[in-house]
C-alpha cells in the first residue's frame, strides 16, 4: 500500500517537475504578469510550489489561454468566518493526536532491566535465607557473588549478583553432577583447570549489573556437584566451586595462572539438607 502510494507520489512529482519547466518558459507570465520582470531567484522560489500544485496551475494556464484572467482570483470562495469555523474543527485533531500520543507513551517499553527482577523460581516466601559464597573477582575489578537458596519443594536456586556489566567477556554458568577433579587447583594445567567438568549443563549467561537466577536441575540437588563459570571471551573456565550435600569442606578451583585477574577462590557450600530433596 505504502509502496504503491510512493510510486504514485513520485510519478505526480515527476510530471510536476516537467510541467514546471515548461510553465516557467511558456505559461507563467500568461497566468500572472507580475512575474514578468521578476528575478531568476524569485522564479526559482516559486518552482517547488508549481511542482506540488501543478494541476491547479495547469487549469489557470488553460483559462488564461482562453482569455480568462485568473490573476488574484480565489479558486474557491471561502469566507473569513468559514475559515475560522474550519480552523476550530481542524483543531480537534490535536486532542485526538495527543490522546494517541499519550497512549503510545504509556505503552513504551521499559528500559531493559529497569525494575524487572530476574524471575524468581517459585520459592515460597519462607524459603531459607540465601547461602552466600564468598565474593570473588573472576574479571578484573568486578566482584561476582554466587549464592544458593533452597526450600522444601526440592528446588535450589542459584543467584549470581554483580554490581557491574560482565558483558565483556561474556560469562556462562554451568552445573555438573560431577564434582571438580580432586586437586584441580593444585594441578593447574590448562586442560584440567580450564575445561568444564564432564556432563556440564548450561544454566545460563551471567551478566551484570544485578541478579540472575538459575534453577539447579531437579533431582540432582542432593548430589555432589559443581558450578563453573566459563568465559566465552577467554575460552576457559574462570572460577568454580563444589557443592557438597552434607559436608563442610569441599574442593575449590582457581583460575589458571594465565588468567588476567586475581580471583579470590570461591569456597564450597553445603546445600541446606533440611530444605533440599525433601519432597
Amino acid at each position: 500500500m505504502i509502496a504503491i502510494a510512493l510510486q504514485v507520489l513520485w510519478l505526480y512529482l515527476a510530471v510536476g517537475a516537467l510541467f514546471a519547466l515548461l510553465f516557467q518558459f511558456r505559461g507563467l507570465v500568461q497566468v500572472d504578469s507580475g512575474v514578468e520582470d521578476s528575478s531568476l531567484w524569485t522564479r526559482l522560489l516559486i518552482t517547488p510550489g508549481i511542482v506540488a500544485l501543478w494541476p491547479l496551475m495547469a487549469r489557470k494556464w488553460a483559462r488564461a489561454r482562453h482569455g480568462e484572467s485568473g490573476e488574484g482570483a480565489a479558486e474557491a470562495p471561502v469566507t473569513a468566518r468559514g475559515l475560522r469555523l474550519l480552523h476550530r474543527r481542524l483543531v480537534w485533531i490535536l486532542p485526538l493526536a495527543a490522546i494517541v500520543a499519550a497512549l503510545a507513551i504509556s505503552q513504551r517499553p521499559a528500559v531493559p532491566g529497569s525494575g524487572e527482577q530476574a524471575p524468581d523460581l517459585g520459592l515460597s516466601p519462607n524459603a531459607l535465607p540465601a547461602t552466600v559464597l564468598a565474593p570473588f573477582t573472576p574479571f578484573e575489578g568486578i566482584p561476582l557473588e554466587i549464592s544458593l537458596r533452597g526450600q522444601a519443594v526440592g528446588r535450589v536456586q542459584v543467584e549470581a549478583r554483580s554490581p557491574r556489566d560482565l558483558a565483556v567477556p561474556s560469562a556462562w554458568l554451568y552445573f555438573s553432577v560431577e564434582d571438580l577433579p580432586s586437586g584441580v587447583a593444585a594441578t593447574g594445567t590448562a586442560e584440567d583447570s580450564d575445561g568444564l567438568p564432564p556432563g556440564s549443563v548450561l544454566l545460563g549467561p551471567v551478566w551484570g549489573p544485578g541478579v540472575q537466577r538459575y534453577a539447579l536441575p531437579q533431582g540432582e540437588t542432593g548430589s555432589r556437584g559443581s558450578l563453573s563459570l566459563y568465559s566465552l571471551g577467554w575460552g576457559r573456565r574462570v572460577g568454580s566451586f563444589s557443592l557438597g550435600a552434607n559436608e563442610s569442606a569441599a574442593h575449590s578451583s582457581a583460575p589458571s595462572a594465565a588468567a588476567p585477574t586475581s580471583a579470590a577462590m570461591p569456597t564450597s557450600v553445603a546445600i541446606p539438607t533440611s530444605e533440599v530433596g525433601a519432597s
Binding site: 506540488a52 481542524l90 500520543a101 499519550a102 513504551r108 541478579v211
Partner: protein, 624 residues
C-alpha cells in the same frame, strides 16, 4: 503589497527578525549538540545533526503556532507575526535536513529504495490490534513524512505569488495544514524517539507544549466567538431598508479601526451570518470596509489609518478608506459598504458596494477633541516601530533566545547514552584468512590481520545494509585476501568488504575447527542487526533504529540477540550480543521485521572460535 514580485521584500525589521531567528537557531542547535557531545561520549556527528535539527524544528513549530493566537490576544505580538513565513520556511528546512539524513542513514544502501525502506519496513504494524501495547510498535516514520509533506506545501506556497494566485481564502485554507503537520509531529515523536528514551522530561515537555498551544488557540477562539456574538440586535429604524446596526459612534476613535458584526437579517443567506465589517472614523467621516485584508485575510478592523489609508495590522497592506482601493501603483481592492449615522449609532448595509465605488462616508457630528485620541502603538513592518512595541519585542526575543536553547540543552542532557563501538569508516585495511559462509559469514584468521585485535574469527558483511557481498559468495573454504574496514565492539569484530576489486582467492584453506557445544538455553533480549550494533550506528537499538535494523537483517547482516543486565539509574546497560544461526548450523530463517523487538531464542549455544553462536531451534516474540 507589490506590483511585481521580488524574492524577499527586505526592510530593516525583516533583517533584524531573521538575525534573531538565526541567532536563536544556532543557540538552540549549539546548546543541544554541545550538551549532548559533552555528556554522551558515544554520540556521532550524524546523530547530533539528526537530533538537533529535529528538536529545533519542533521547538520552532511551537513558536509559530503560538504567534497566531498570541497576536489575537495581545496586539503587541503582531511584531512577531510580521515575518512568520520565514519561521515556517526555516522549520521546513530543518525538517528536510533531518528527514534527508534519516533516510540516508536508516533507509539507504539496502535492498529497496531508501524512502520505501524507511516508510514500509514494518508498515504491517499499522494493523489494528486488540492489545494496547501494540500501539508502541506502530511505525513512526510515516507521521514524520506526513508532517514534512505539509510543511513543504506551506513553505513552497509562502511567497506572495501564491497568495495572489491561489487567492487569500484558499491560501489560508492550505496553510491550516500546519495543524495537521503539528498533530503528525506529535505522533512522530511519541511513537518514535519517546519509545526509546525513558526520561520523563520528554513527555512533560511535549505535554506542556501541547497544553500551552491548545490553551492559546482556545482562548483566541473564545475571543473571536465573543466578537461574533457582539452583534447588536435589531431595532426599528433604517433597518427596514436593509441597514444593520454596527456600533455606537462613541466607540470610534479617530483613525483607529473597529470591528462591527452585523446581525443577520430575515432574508439573508445563512452563510452571511454574522457579518464582520471594519469601521473607521477618519477626518470626521465614518467608512465601512470589508474586515478581510486581500493579502492573508488579516483583520482590517484592528488596523489604523496611516497616511490616509486603512492599514492592515498583519503586514501593513493599505486601502483607501473611501473606496477600498490600494494606493497606486498597487491594485488590490477590498469591498466597501454604505454607512449611515442614526441617533449616534453607525448603521451599515451588508450588501457591498460595487468594487472601487467612492463613498463620502457618513458625516459624524462629534467634537474634534472627543474624536481625537492618542494613537495606540501600531506596528507596520516597513515603518519605524513605536517604542513600547520595540521594548516588548526585545523582551520576547530575549526570553526565546534564552529559554529555547535552555530547553534544548536539557533535552540533550537526559538522552540515553549511546553504545560505544567503532566503525573505521574510510579506513581501508587488508585482511587474509579462510572464508567460511556458515553458520555465519566469517573470516577465520590465524593471527592479527588488518590491524584487528587478535581474533580467530571476523564476521563478514558487505557495504551498506548487505550481508556477505556477491563477489565473496561461493568461496567458502577458500583462503582469500581483500580490503575492508573494521567494525568492532567488545568481543564482536567484523569487516565491511567494501572493495570488490581487491578480493583475491589464494587457494584452498584449512578447514575450520569444529564448533564446541556449550549447552542449550533460552535467551531473552532485543533482536538486533550486528553491523549497526557493532559500531556503525548510534543508536543501533530500539524503535528509532528499527527500520534500519529490518533493512540490515533483510539484506543478510548477521542477526544477534542483545541481552542486558539490570538498568543502572534508568540507563540500559550495554549488554552483550549472541549471534543467531539456524538449528542446522546454517543461516537462520526468521522474520526480519521483528528487529528491535524483544524476542526469545531457544537453542544450543556453540562456540565457533571465539564467537558464541546460538543454533536457534525457536525464535519467538515475547508477550511484552
Amino acid at each position: 503589497m507589490s506590483v511585481g514580485y521580488t524574492t524577499v521584500q527586505w526592510n530593516r525589521d525583516k533583517k533584524v527578525y531573521d538575525a534573531v531567528l538565526l541567532g536563536g537557531l544556532l543557540a538552540t542547535i549549539g546548546a543541544f549538540a554541545g550538551v549532548t557531545a559533552a555528556t554522551h561520549p558515544g554520540a556521532t556527528a550524524e546523530t547530533l545533526i539528526l537530533r538537533s535539527t529535529a528538536l529545533a524544528a519542533l521547538l520552532l513549530l511551537h513558536v509559530i503556532l503560538a504567534i497566531g493566537p498570541l497576536s489575537r490576544l495581545d496586539r503587541r505580538f503582531l511584531v512577531l507575526l510580521y515575518n512568520r513565513r520565514h519561521l515556517g520556511v526555516t522549520t521546513f528546512s530543518l525538517g528536510l535536513v533531518h528527514a534527508a539524513l534519516a533516510t540516508l542513514q536508516y533507509g539507504a544502501f539496502g535492498d529497496r529504495p531508501a524512502v520505501e525502506s524507511l516508510l514500509n519496513s514494518y508498515s504491517k504494524d499499522f494493523l489494528p490490534s486488540s492489545s494496547l501495547a501494540a500501539l508502541a510498535n506502530v511505525p513512526f516514520e510515516i507521521f514524520g513524512a506526513v508532517a514534512l509533506g505539509f510543511l513543504f506545501l506551506l513553505a513552497a506556497t509562502s511567497h506572495d505569488f501564491w497568495n495572489r494566485n491561489l487567492g487569500p481564502a484558499v491560501w489560508k485554507l492550505l496553510h491550516l495544514g500546519v495543524i495537521i503537520a503539528y498533530a503528525s509531529l506529535l505522533l512522530h515523536v511519541a511513537l518514535g524517539v519517546l519509545q526509546s528514551e525513558s526520561s520523563l522530561l520528554y513527555p512533560i515537555l511535549l505535554g506542556v507544549g501541547f497544553v500551552v498551544l491548545l490553551g492559546l488557540h482556545w482562548a483566541a477562539a473564545r475571543r473571536e466567538g465573543a466578537v461574533d456574538d457582539s452583534a447588536l440586535g435589531p431595532k426599528p429604524g433604517p433597518e427596514s431598508e436593509g441597514y444593520r446596526r454596527a456600533c455606537a459612534v462613541e466607540e470610534l476613535k479617530e483613525d483607529h479601526g473597529h470591528i462591527a458584526v452585523l446581525e443577520r437579517g430575515a432574508g439573508d443567506p445563512p452563510e452571511g451570518k454574522p457579518h464582520r465589517v471594519a469601521i473607521f472614523l477618519h477626518q470626521g467621516r465614518v467608512y465601512a470596509l470589508s474586515n478581510v485584508c486581500r493579502h492573508q485575510g488579516g483583520p482590517l478592523g484592528e488596523g489604523q489609518v496611516i497616511d490616509g489609508c486603512v492599514t492592515c495590522p498583519w503586514h501593513g497592506w493599505q486601502y483607501r478608506a473611501h473606496d477600498g482601493v490600494s494606493p497606486p501603483p498597487f491594485t488590490e481592492v477590498v469591498p466597501t459598504y454604505s454607512a449611515r449615522i442614526v441617533d449616534g449609532e453607525v448603521w451599515v448595509h451588508p450588501e457591498p458596494l460595487a468594487e472601487g465605488t467612492e463613498s463620502d462616508g457618513a458625516l459624524v457630528e462629534k467634537a474634534a477633541e472627543e474624536a481625537a485620541a492618542e494613537a495606540e502603538p501600531f506596528y507596520v513592518g516597513y515603518l519605524p516601530t513605536p517604542g513600547p512595541l520595540v521594548t516588548h519585542a526585545r523582551r520576547v526575543a530575549i526570553a526565546l533566545l534564552l529559554g529555547v536553547p535552555l530547553v534544548a540543552g536539557a533535552v540533550g542532557a537526559v538522552q540515553h547514552q549511546f553504545l560505544d563501538g567503532t566503525f573505521e569508516f574510510g579506513v581501508v585495511k587488508s585482511f587474509e584468512g579462510v572464508l567460511v559462509e556458515e553458520p555465519l559469514p566469517a573470516l577465520i584468521v590465524d593471527g592479527p590481520t588488518g590491524g584487528a585485535t587478535p581474533q580467530d574469527s571476523l564476521l563478514l558483511v558487505g557495504f551498506g545494509k548487505q550481508g556477505l557481498p556477491d563477489f565473496a559468495q561461493g568461496h567458502g573454504g577458500s583462503r582469500v585476501r581483500f580490503n575492508g574496514s573494521l567494525i568492532y565492539r567488545g568481543n564482536l569484530t567484523m569487516v565491511e568488504m567494501n572493495d570488490p576489486e581487491s578480493f583475491e582467492v589464494l587457494g584452498a584453506g584449512a578447514p575450520p575447527s569444529p564448533a564446541q557445544p556449550l549447552g542449550t538455553l533460552t535467551l531473552r533480549g532485543e533482536l538486533v542487526d550486528t553491523k549497526c550494533y557493532g559500531g556503525v550506528m548510534r543508536p543501533a537499538v530500539g524503535k528509532v533504529h528499527r527500520a534500519c535494523a529490518i533493512a540490515c537483517l533483510r539484506g543478510g547482516i548477521p542477526p544477534g540477540i542483545l541481552v542486558r543486565g539490570d538498568a543502572e539509574e534508568g540507563e540500559p546497560t550495554p549488554g552483550t550480543v549472541v549471534l543467531l544461526a539456524g538449528p542446522d548450523g546454517k543461516s537462520l530463517d526468521f522474520d526480519p521485521s521483528w528487529a528491535a523487538l524483544e524476542v526469545e531464542a531457544e537453542g544450543e549455544l556453540t562456540l565457533h572460535g571465539q564467537s558464541a553462536v546460538l543454533r536457534t531451534r525457536e525464535l519467538r516474540l515475547t508477550d511484552s
